[in-house]
């Protein structure tokens, strides 16, 4: 059994929180976990990628190689696209339906591809894909910062490996007290959203 997970997003989207919840979930199942983060420019609008490797047996490299990821969580379209080559076409992906242009895009010096084009290519690459309106829901619930917990809720719905109740407990225990209630709400709504 193995579960290699990539969480790809932009600084400030809460990747690290999501990666910690997933890693702890695996640890509680007595599985091996190894991970890596690129957090160098996280605070300045750079890409942030977490690799989480979960397996029964030994794990060597903290980085997931080409075509090996079982799950790709894209917190934004282009970051999902950037890491698509790491995904096993038999795996699954979740993508937050939001566009975060790069500085160069904003300046008109570079093009941000059309989301529809990205989704078409992703679907062709890996049929098991889910587009989640996570930021929209998070904003509706009062805070766009909750995008990550909405995505975790959706994840629990999409992949049976992740147990809803256990993940919920980890979302709660990892949340600062003042955000706990809101985060749980976001998680629950994310779970329901995919179902309906």
């Amino acid at each position: 059994m193995k579960m290699d997970v990539i969480i790809a997003g932009v600084g400030g989207q809460g990747n690290i929180f999501a990666s910690i919840v997933i890693s702890q979930y695996a640890m509680n199942k007595k599985l091996n976990v190894l991970g890596a983060e690129t957090i160098g420019a996280a605070q300045r609008g750079g890409s942030v990628v977490s690799h989480i490797r979960i397996a029964e047996g030994p794990i060597y490299s903290p980085l997931i190689s080409r075509g090996q990821a079982d799950l790709l969580i894209g917190m934004e379209y282009v970051e999902m696209l950037r890491h698509l080559r790491l995904l096993n076409p038999q795996g699954a992906y979740l993508v937050n339906a939001i566009k975060i242009p790069t500085v160069q895009n904003n300046m008109g010096l570079d093009e941000y591809p059309e989301p529809a084009e990205i989704l078409k290519a992703a679907k062709k690459y890996c049929p098991n894909g889910h587009v989640i309106e996570a930021s929209t829901l998070a904003k509706k619930l009062g805070n766009v910062q909750m995008t990550n917990v909405v995505m975790l809720g959706a994840l629990a719905q999409v992949l049976p490996f992740f147990d809803y109740e256990e993940m919920k407990w980890l979302v709660a225990s990892n949340s600062p007290t003042r955000f706990k209630e809101a985060n749980l709400k976001g998680y629950e709504e994310g779970y329901k959203m995919v179902k309906s």
């Binding site: 976990v33 609008g45 750079g46 060597y60 096993n88 242009p101 500085v103 941000y112 690459y125």
Partner: protein, 611 residues
């Protein structure tokens, strides 16, 4: 009680040092090593500090060590370069309390201004022993053992974790921390600790440094013996005449690659310097060819070639001198391609994946929305354009001013080099106004020396100090201008105007959120002969916001599309991520979700389209 935790490699390293009874920890922030220092905080009896540079940190640690206390100097490779002068003395004297230098390397320059291999500096140049960890777990075991070995051999030991060890996360076993730490004491030993060209009568008047050099050379045999027995080097049996050697992360990647390689190739895992010669000899028996995977230089490769030459071993040695790419970070792909070349008969089965052919925009970092650097950089851009000036840059968040589209700073090298380089440009006679832009943490690191020199030699350089009161780039570490220590104790922040006064140079303090004021100060500085200093002073916006402090009164910023003519000055000379350009409309717009209302762009727009 043993507890298992899922933590970063840096945390594992810090924990290892704490379990070994470290008492003094000092470093200077630098990715990927920064967290090692921070993770040592909060243990009674353990002093943890940010020093103003790595050399100071290292010297502090050696001072503690001479009082029989275990200490931990922490830095990235650039810092180790800076420490070299001291390192080339302490290798001759040796130390007392265990001292393990952390010299973190960043292959691929993921967060660095250069990529390099400090094994050459520490081992080849300073002849000191090193451990090269292959994982966070191994790094923790290595550092604990290195403290004992450091005391046993009386030498500085070095742990060299690469980024993929520092910033990997794994399940780490936490052991108990020592209950009591041994008390410090000091006995003079001038024959050892006075590194001076003094004659030693017992050796016919030979100079002391030569004798200390001899002492270090004589240690090598002992180190060789330790490494022969080390549990960080081992052989894994395999089939065929081609063997692989993996050093540190190189080993980890070979293990990852094994699932794709048709058969198990003989494998030697190396984690120590000096190398275990006997183990290497044993490994290569019956082999025709070996391929070495190491980060980053062909260093072990050279050492093995030397051993083979001396011992007349006829095995072909391949590695990063060209057979494996000689630059960048090792990757799984590199290993597979190299094995395919070295042993064409071995089957390699890696799944091919189709890659969608869509353009993927690159995400270049920039200053945060609301960052005060953008104000002073814009003012400087205008000044430089008007006077055909040149800007020498330095390390820090402001370096993004050198990227497209701003392209302001013309040079960026290492910590503190902006002011002396700008001085040299002045002295060249190029006859254009010359500026140096430096942040405050870098200024206290060693940039201040360049300013003292410019003052003393009356060099007509215009220095701009971006004073945001924190080391922002690496995650808000305090420095001598912050007013508090790492442990949270209040201190006296350095008063830069007083410093300038004492140097006899003119200075102007400006608010970077006031571009007009910055422009005026820059104009005055250009007109003035001799060195000048502009202190662009305002706390880091991001940190202040997190603490609930305001650095400006937020305004509602609007753009009038009737007035905007799409000149793009707000993009090319300012580059705020909240401003975007619509190619079809040929007009800019401001994203209200991203804008924080600093209002700087109001001054930037020459047509008055932003209000």
């Amino acid at each position: 009680m043993k507890e298992k935790r899922y933590v970063m490699g840096d945390t594992a390293i810090a924990r290892g040092a704490l379990e070994a009874g470290v008492r003094v920890v000092a470093g200077y922030p630098g990715t990927p090593a920064t967290e090692i220092v921070e993770e040592c905080l909060g243990h009674p009896g353990v002093h943890v500090e940010w020093a103003n540079n790595e050399k100071v940190a290292f010297e502090i640690c050696v001072g503690a060590s001479l009082c029989h206390v275990r200490s931990l100097p922490v830095m990235k490779h650039n810092g180790t370069n800076y420490v070299t002068d001291f390192l080339m003395h302490v290798n001759f004297t040796g130390i007392r309390g265990g001292l393990v230098l952390i010299s973190a390397d960043d292959p691929g320059a993921l967060s660095s201004q250069n990529e390099e291999d400090t094994r050459i500096l520490v081992h080849q140049y300073a002849h000191l022993p090193m451990f090269d960890p292959s994982s966070p777990q191994e790094a923790k075991a290595m550092i604990k053992e290195a403290y004992d070995l450091s005391e046993k051999t009386e030498l500085v030991w070095c742990l060299r974790p690469v980024t993929r060890v520092c910033h990997a996360r794994g399940i780490i076993e936490f052991d108990d921390l020592p209950q009591e730490l041994p008390a410090a004491h000091y006995e003079p030993d001038r024959k050892r600790f006075i590194m001076s060209a003094v004659e030693v009568p017992e050796f016919g008047g030979l100079k002391r440094p030569q004798l200390r050099h001899r002492w270090l050379n004589e240690k090598q045999e002992m180190l060789q013996g330790i490494m022969e027995e080390s549990s960080y080097n081992w052989i894994e049996k395999g089939e065929g005449k081609v063997g692989l050697i993996g050093c540190g992360m190189g080993y980890t990647l070979i293990k990852e690659a094994e699932q794709y390689i048709g058969r198990k190739l003989p494998l030697l895992k190396l984690g120590t310097l000096p190398l275990p010669k006997k183990k290497i000899r044993e490994f290569v028996k019956g082999l025709e060819k070996i391929v070495i995977f190491e980060e980053t230089e062909p260093f072990v490769e050279g050492l093995i070639k030397k051993i083979f030459h001396e011992e007349k071993i006829e095995v072909e040695v391949l590695g990063r001198s060209g057979f494996v790419p000689s630059d960048g970070e090792l990757t799984l792909q590199m290993i597979l391609e190299t094995v395919r070349k070295a042993a064409p008969e071995v089957k390699i089965a890696q799944p091919e994946v189709p890659v969608p052919q869509i353009h993927i925009p690159i995400r270049t970092r920039t200053q945060c929305v609301g960052c005060n650097y953008r104000g002073i950089l814009n003012a400087l851009k205008q000044t430089v354009r008007k006077h055909k000036g040149i800007v020498a840059g330095d390390i820090g968040c402001h370096d993004a001013g050198s990227f497209s589209p701003m392209e302001l700073q013309s040079t960026i090298y290492c910590m503190g080099s902006s002011v002396p380089m700008a001085s040299g440009m002045v002295l060249s006679g190029v006859n254009r106004p010359i500026f140096a832009f430096i942040g405050d943490s870098t200024f206290y690191h060693n940039g201040i020396l360049g300013l003292i020199n410019a003052a003393n030699n009356k060099i007509n350089v215009n220095v701009i100090l971006g004073e945001n009161s924190v080391t922002a780039m690496t995650g808000f570490q305090p420095h001598p201008g912050t007013g508090r220590t790492l442990a949270g104790e209040e201190t006296q922040p350095i008063n830069v105007p007083k410093l300038a006064e004492s140097m006899g140079i003119s200075y102007r303090v400006v608010n970077p959120y006031d571009i007009q004021q910055c422009r005026q100060a820059l104009e005055a500085a250009v007109k003035e002969e001799g060195p000048s200093l502009i202190v662009s002073s305002m706390p880091c916006y991001l940190l202040s916001t997190r603490r609930g402090q305001k650095v400006f009164e937020p305004k509602e910023v609007r753009l009038n599309p009737e007035i905007c003519n799409g000149c793009m000055i707000c993009i090319n000379d300012f580059g705020c991520p909240a401003i975007s350009f619509d190619k079809k409309q040929k007009k800019v717009s401001i994203d209200p979700m991203t804008c924080v209302g600093c209002g700087l762009c109001v001054d930037v727009c020459k047509r008055g389209a932003i209000s």
